[in-house]
Amino acid sequence: MARDLKEIKDINEIKDLGWDELIPGAALFSFTEPVEDVAEVPMEERPYAPTNSHEWQVGDWRVEKPVYNRDLCIDCQFCWVFCPDMSILSRDKKMIGVIYEHCKGCGICVEVCPTNPKSLLMFPEHMDNDEALSMWPKKEEKDK
């Protein structure tokens, strides 16, 4: 009989499932229990199933990462709307930070950030964020 994929909590357990344990038809579930109104539930509160890619990581795809500087940010949400990977965390109309587990380092958020200097900048993946913040460039003079 198929084990209920929803009941498996540990991602690693899924990887070893034998044919007899699979859900017929290879259906996958987003959550471990019903969510009545998904659009109303923020991701922190969702009962994600281990089969939801939310529980997985792609952070290791990056060579550079976006670093966020709260001091300069005007909360315009450009980074939020154009991030292809749901990796800008915004709450109550405020930008909060980057979800590094899901950020692929595309650099779009940095490109679209309108502040000067930018409130998001790309730094080498291995660099510490505090170090990056300490190296933040000064305001750039626009050439006339």
Binding site: L28, A39, S53, W56, F82, K93, H102, K104
Partner: protein, 332 residues
């Protein structure tokens, strides 16, 4: 129920129902479009997806990136899949046999929105028959074409959406070829001519325009077609961070005009008015050359022997822009 989205800050209150750690390329527009479409409503959404990048990268066993019910059947049948889910929904609603949670939503005036996503290959080419059939039959669903003008998933072959001069893996530029020979098929007009109540062209870089159109589409009953520009970093060969800039260049050069076509019907279903509205007018219309120059898939056009193709491009874009404006003015 129409979600209130006055500005971007308000939009950012949306809780995404499309998840991270999918396998799409960094900087992929498909994802941005999907987010904007899903976040345009808080009503339940059910999605059908054609084979293509979006499908192979968001439902790779044992992971799904979808927090809405989702189905993929094949490359050429996303339209009929969505259309039939819609029909199934209506039958169950009529019979009073909807699942309780769904019935509750319906009672609150929040009917599920049924959306198909397909690439240009799955839309302009192999899925065209299924799309045409589903539109003719008038099912209540939205079809969004993620138009990156190429078969990206299979390594960048041309489609009937590939524009002239683009170098693709089956229309490569070479010593005696400037690349793709055909102009792009005008899918928006073709779908409008099916009599669909609402048809529009959008770009993810103009998020508000896109969201407004999707909301309009959700409000009408019947098949809705949305043609979404989808800059593809891998096949257009621009840097991933330039996705939004390239999209903007397309819009501001009028290569990718943003407009909608509304077919209004009377109570008998007879179309009494067709209106085309241009929804975005660039302040200054930039030369097509700038758009082409931003994408290495057109690099070879800048060789002296191919310059005439750039001229041709400009002519074609101007003529089309002119045509759209005339239609808008004439109210047809």
């Amino acid at each position: 129920m129409v979600k209130k989205i006055k500005n971007l800050k308000e939009f950012s209150l949306s809780n995404d129902r499309f998840e991270g750690a999918n396998l799409m390329c960094p900087g992929c527009s498909h994802n941005i479009i999907v987010r904007e479409v899903l976040n345009a409503t808080d009503d339940p959404v059910i999605v059908a997806t054609a084979t293509g990048c979006l499908e192979v990268c968001t439902a790779v066993y044992p992971k799904t990136s979808w927090d809405v019910s989702w189905i993929h059947i094949g490359f050429e049948n996303a339209a009929v899949a969505a259309a039939t889910v819609s029909a199934a929904y209506e039958v169950m609603k009529k019979k009073g046999k909807l699942p309780p949670a769904t019935q509750k939503m319906v009672d609150e005036g929040r009917e599920p929105k049924i959306v198909a996503f397909a690439g240009d290959g799955g839309t302009y080419d192999i899925g065209f028959q299924s799309l045409s059939g589903a539109f003719e039959r008038g099912h209540n669903f939205m079809y969004v074409c993620l138009d990156n003008e190429v078969y990206a998933n299979t390594g960048g072959q041309r489609s009937s959406s590939t524009p002239i001069g683009a170098s693709t893996t089956t229309s490569p530029a070479g010593s005696v070829s400037y690349g793709e020979k055909m102009m792009k098929k005008s899918m928006v007009e073709i779908m409008a001519d099916h009599g669909a109540p609402y048809v529009a062209q959008v770009s993810p870089s103009k998020w508000k325009d896109l969201v407004k159109k999707v909301q309009k589409g959700f409000e009408v009953y019947g098949p809705v077609y949305i043609n979404a520009q989808s800059a593809c970093t891998t096949e257009w060969k621009h840097a991933p961070e330039d996705t939004i800039e390239v999209s903007d260049l397309g819009v501001d050069s009028c290569v990718w005009p943003l407009y909608e076509i509304i077919n209004e019907r009377d109570e008998h279903g007879i179309i009494y008015s067709t209106k085309l509205n241009i929804t975005y007018r660039p302040k200054t219309k930039i030369p097509v050359e700038e758009y082409l120059a931003a994408q290495p898939r057109f690099r070879h056009l800048f060789k002296p022997e191919n310059r005439h193709i750039i001229d041709l491009w400009q002519k074609a874009v101007d003529a089309r822009w002119e045509y759209l404006q005339k239609r808008e003015e004439a109210g047809v």
